[in-house]
Symmetry: C2
Subunit: 279 residues, 2 copies
DNA sequence: GCATTTTGTGAGCACCGCTCTCTCTTGAGA
DNA sequence: TCTCAAGAGAGAGCGGTGCTCACAAAATGC
């Protein structure tokens, strides 16, 4: 009984993802994996250098010394190659976010939040074209293959875990903002059931908003909207990330400028007309 | 004395922008204006239908029944045509934002803020490809010509005016958040001097952050990041815009669910563990 | 050892942005 | 009113692209 026509692909994927755990199937599979990796590597190089628009299959093949048509044995179309790069980019930014999450395991929740956001932002600044590929205009025609959704959610899930850990250790206050509108509450409830049943609904809603807002700031920086507006991008981002942490309800570090155990009330910006507003 | 070689272009621009106020220069200029408009119209049609990547000069020319080479008499390159579309898109989203600003002239500051944000968001949802052109990955090679910066700032300036009006009428509280870091304060101070000398520095900083965050949410919605995450996009956006208004310090409408003159303290989300945090 | 599958090649198609040369029309100045 | 430079359009063409197809070589499985 012949195997399914594409079974070797799954073998290769399994091997690539799990390392040499299975039997080493043969020189052919091995070569295929290596060539696939070389194609992606060169494509990623061109992507980083010139952007997704300038990336061309022919040029990748030329640089690799092979006929352009041979490349189609590995990626059925340019969009498929781009999709592979998209997945890699999601994995890369997800990895640095998770690393920051792990590195700050015992830090204050707000500091962990800021660290994860900062890691994602730093990766974006260092890889603007790859960032544009995943958080800019979707370039392959509105296709979000199922393969991309898991890598795409890694950063968000890291943020969720930070909030969840804070909640578990009693360091999650109520999020800012008004009571949720009913449809928003419904969405947040559904989400909570999926990814964080222990978290309050309002925290989930605030988390989703903060997630989008973090990437709003990153995108504005990477895409040039801050030109001639914000020059100190790093400090500005940290400030915004800290504000978003507070918005979600994360307790800031005790080392903050205010030593109070209920640090918020003293946090009004100095020098401005003080008002009667608690926040 | 011969006129500058490109003077007719300025004439055309002036005529197009100001209407038939100058002398009607002649059939040639008139034809040029009409053809230029037709090209942009067809290009915008293809942009809306297929996206910026699929937009091609040849196809525009084909649809207009002219040789593709003739098109270069009007736009020196594809990037120039795209730049023109970018300017138009910035103007379009800026116009709806300004309209919302004008329509809510006597409303509460927070409601005005929400209206302006909502107008921009609605336009983006209705024109996703044009939105992607201006707030997605920058597609012409990192060129932000001077012509684009004025139209690009229209939405932001509408938001600034909302905040400034609120400040002028005593309805701007201190923004949320910690004291500003020094570099952020410097940026905000420079910005304040340029666009709103009357506003407190902290309000400017909060405004810039909120501006980026609003578009973060819009981009996540338009670019599909909310797929399978947020379904009630409209209510979610309104909720987030309201929270951002509060973050900037805008006084909410008296008709809100809390009738207090200092409405914030009662705004903790219900049903969640109440904490000692004021915000 | 042989049939089958897989991989690589080169030609070729249709399309793209852009340039160049050519013709025709237009309109301003003598 | 006539002239002639300048503008506008057409068409061919160059180098590039994504992609397909028929064909040859190599590895694999029986």
């Amino acid at each position: 009984m012949a195997r399914a026509p594409l079974s070797f692909l799954f073998d290769a994927l399994e091997l690539w993802q799990n390392g040499p755990m299975s039997v080493i199937k043969g020189a052919r599979e091995r070569a295929r994996i290596e060539v696939t990796a070389a194609i992606k590597e060169e494509a990623r190089r061109q992507l980083a250098a010139e952007g997704a628009v300038r990336l061309s299959l022919r040029s990748v093949a030329r640089e690799l010394g092979m006929a352009s048509s041979a490349l189609y044995r590995y990626f059925p179309s340019r969009d498929d190659l781009l999709t592979a790069l998209i997945i890699d980019a999601y994995d890369a930014i997800g990895a640095v976010a998770e690393q920051a999450e792990a590195d700050t395991e015992h830090a204050a929740p707000a500091d962990r939040w800021i660290a994860v956001c900062r890691a994602a932002r730093d990766w974006a600044v260092r890889h603007p074209h790859e960032y544009a590929l995943i958080y800019g205009s979707p370039v392959p025609g509105y296709s979000a293959p199922q393969d991309t959704v898991t890598p795409a959610s890694r950063v968000a899930l890291a943020l969720v875990r930070v909030v969840r850990d804070a909640h578990r250790t009693g360091r999650l206050g109520p999020p800012q903002g008004r009571p949720l509108a009913a449809p928003v509450r419904a969405d947040a409830g559904r989400l909570a059931a999926e990814i964080a049943p222990d978290l309050p609904i309002a925290a989930i809603a605030a988390l989703v908003a903060a997630w989008a807002q973090v990437f709003g700031i990153v995108s504005f920086e990477v895409f040039g909207q801050f030109n001639r507006v914000v020059e100190a991008r790093g400090p500005f981002f940290d400030q915004s990330a800290a504000a978003l942490a507070a918005q979600v309800g994360l307790v800031p570090s005790a080392a903050a400028d205010t030593g109070s155990a209920t640090p918020r009330s003293a946090d009004a910006a100095p020098g401005d007309t003080p008002g009667p507003y608690c926040r």
